[in-house]
């Protein structure tokens, strides 16, 4: 965690924890999330369902304020802890400094208002301009995200757009106030693969143009490899590994990351048999005392004294590539154990 950017990161999340009271008990959705992000970088948050990746993004956006959720820890954006802000003060950040796009652009847009009006509205919230000027901004923005004939398309309704066009329009809406941070929650999961490729290209282009930092929440390691600089792997609501994309794929440290990469069928090489991770993720209602991955981990026998079953490991590791595994403390270089 001593990367040069860590001195003054644009975004730093420190020990973020989120829990929800439910009828069945308290759900511990996020149990220790740490992340640093430099300006202009893209970080991928990868995890399977229930890993806490979406809840993390909602906490960043302040969408859990004024709900039953309990959020602790720090979310530092340019030094300001967003978690301490009231809902009213958070509003100045939403859309202006942090914007968000969602998995399903059809349901994320209001069905009754034209696309252009929805983009213009996002602009007018934070900019004191006339309706006419905002409408022109919307047209320009729609053009920038690659929608042909943007003036005419601004008057169309979301249901008149195709899936890919809708996600483009969502991106236009999110970027219209030139935010410092864009959170993209599974932005291409609902799209076809050829359209997904277009949208990922667009995100890359716009980031080069605007210098916006991006948090990309996804379950797809392929998408991460395409667009991200950094990756955070989440499991059971914890950040289990953070690394640059190159390091993560080349030298995955956490047994869960290793398992995840091994279980993916790859186009590049056809393997005879896939290697799934046995078992299921832990219940977020009753978390074990030990490592959350222990009962699925093939390496617990390498750690003495049943530490995996009794003590929760911390995020440790050198050279900016920490992993939440007892093996890291046993072998500080991390090389021998593997």
């Amino acid at each position: 965690m001593t990367t040069p950017e860590a001195a003054a990161p644009m975004l730093a999340i420190r020990d973020l924890r989120v829990s929800f009271p439910t009828d069945d008990g308290v759900v511990h959705a996020v149990n220790g999330m740490d992340l640093t992000l430099a300006r202009g970088e893209t970080v991928g948050i990868v995890g399977e369902s229930g890993s806490g990746k979406t809840v993390t993004s909602q906490a960043l956006m302040g969408l859990l304020k004024d709900t039953a959720a309990e959020v602790t820890g720090q979310i530092l954006l340019d030094g300001q802890d967003l978690n301490t802000l009231t809902e009213t003060r958070m509003r100045a950040y939403r859309g202006k400094k942090i914007a968000m796009i969602f998995q399903d652009p059809l349901s994320a847009m209001h069905p009754f208002y034209p696309v252009g009006a929805q983009i213009a509205e996002a602009y007018r919230v934070h900019n004191d301009v006339s309706k006419k000027a905002a409408a022109q901004v919307a047209v320009d923005m729609l053009g920038r995200v690659g929608i042909p004939d943007p003036k005419r398309r601004c008057a169309a309704y979301p249901h008149e757009f195709s899936g890919g066009m809708r996600q483009r329009a969502m991106i236009a809406m999110a970027l219209v106030c030139e935010p410092e941070l864009l959170i993209a929650d599974e932005p291409t999961t609902a799209l076809d693969v050829t359209v997904q490729a277009q949208i990922l290209d667009l995100l890359n282009e716009l980031q080069d143009e605007t210098g916006t930092s991006v948090i990309l929440v996804t379950h797809d390691l392929g998408v991460v490899a395409e667009v991200c600089h950094q990756v955070v792997v989440m499991y059971g609501g914890e950040c289990v590994e953070q690394a640059t994309v190159a390091k993560l794929f080349e030298d995955p440290r956490h047994p869960y990351t290793q398992g995840l990469l091994a279980s993916m069928p790859s186009l590049a090489q056809r393997s005879e048999r896939l290697n799934p991770i046995p078992g299921f993720p832990p219940s977020l209602l009753a978390l074990p005392n030990g490592c959350l991955f222990a009962d699925r981990c093939p390496k617990t026998h390498l750690v003495p004294d049943d530490a995996c079953g009794t003590r929760r490991p911390t995020l440790t590791g050198l050279d900016g590539h920490p992993s939440r595994c007892h093996l890291e403390t046993l072998q500080p270089t991390g090389e021998v154990a593997r």
Partner: protein, 333 residues
């Protein structure tokens, strides 16, 4: 949009004709003999036969229907040969009781019904939607529980019960309000808007208690559903104020189903608020219909039935059009 309106309009005209035909058939072919009803208590077979001819019942069924419907286009004469009287356009026959044009009778009753309906609709819409919205915003808290509890009581209170309780309390016991009078039909009568308001306040409240309870429930559940929609999250993510999120983004989507209900309820009410008019002795359409049915005045009953059906069909079309205006996704269908 234009073709959508055209199709709706054509469908409406066709449906109106179908309804008129069905209603006409029911009354003509039903067990009640119009001729016997027309000639009253002391009837000889000969007089019934005369009445038959006077009513045109000697003619084929379809001819009768077309004669009846032609009254919508022009005036014509009705009655036995030699004793015809002119029935002015628009003609829906003449009352057996008073020999007045049916349309005149309805025209006299309609302002009363409009007065009862208009105020009640405004009252229950404002109260129902307002309280429903409030309950949704305060979900699970005291205000929500109070409103939902009140609504459960409201829906289970029939109009005769509320109506009589209101009369007992405000008119007989407290003497705060006058008993409703036939003198005041519209706000433009001698009593003025104030007198009109006080005159109809109790019927409005009686109707509103029942209807607003339903509107509270529908509004609340639809708003709660809307609050969970993805686009509400997007609105929040844009940094919009809570008021803007709730009213501009939430209410427009959440209240759409209420529009349907409102349209159909208005249509139904214009056909006569039967129970309310009875209890408060308002001589509106519903009151007239009951009176006509009791005295076997078939032309009046039939005309009011048809009119009620027309109002409901028209209301349906208005609802469809309102829907298309509110929700652009409907326009393509």
């Amino acid at each position: 949009m234009t073709s959508f309106l055209m199709r709706r309009f054509v469908a409406m005209i066709v449906l109106l004709f179908v309804i008129s035909f069905v209603t006409f058939s029911l009354f003509q072919l039903g067990p009640a003999d119009p001729a016997a009803a027309a000639c009253g208590q002391e009837c000889t077979p000969q007089r019934i036969a005369e009445a038959r001819i006077a009513l045109g019942m000697d003619k084929p069924f379809l001819t009768q229907y077309f004669t009846y419907m032609s009254g919508l286009v022009s005036s014509h004469t009705v009655g036995a040969p030699g004793a015809e009287t002119l029935c002015n356009w628009p003609c829906l026959g003449k009352s057996f009781q008073t020999n007045e044009d049916v349309t005149t009778i309805i025209g006299r009753a309609l302002p009363y019904t409009l007065s009862v309906a208009s105020g009640a609709i405004v009252l229950w819409t404002v109260a129902g939607v307002g309280l429903g919205l409030l309950a949704a915003l305060r979900k699970g808290r005291f205000a929500d529980k109070l409103i939902v509890g009140g609504a459960s009581v409201g829906v289970s209170l029939p109009i005769p019960v509320t109506g009589l309780l209101l009369l007992l309390l405000f008119v007989s016991t407290l003497d705060l309000l006058p008993f409703t009078t036939n003198e005041i039909a519209t706000p433009f009568d001698a009593a003025g808007p104030g007198g009109w308001f006080l005159n109809y306040l109790l019927p409005w409240v009686a109707l509103a208690v029942l209807f607003s309870a339903q509107y509270i429930r529908v509004t609340r559940s639809n708003m709660l559903e809307t609050f969970g929609e993805d686009f509400m999250r997007t609105a929040r993510a844009k940094g919009l104020s809570r008021r803007n999120i709730v009213f501009k983004h939430g209410a427009r989507a959440g209240i759409t189903p209420v529009v349907t209900m409102l349209g159909l309820d208005i249509g139904g009410l214009l056909g006569g608020a039967v129970l309310t008019e009875q209890i408060f002795s308002v001589p509106g359409v519903g009151f007239t219909a009951v009176h006509a049915a009791q005295s076997g005045d078939l032309p009046v009953t039939m005309a009011i039935t048809m009119m009620a059906a027309f109002f409901i069909i028209v209301a349906n079309v208005v609802v469809d059009i309102a829907y298309a205006v509110i929700d652009p996704r409907v326009r393509v269908a």
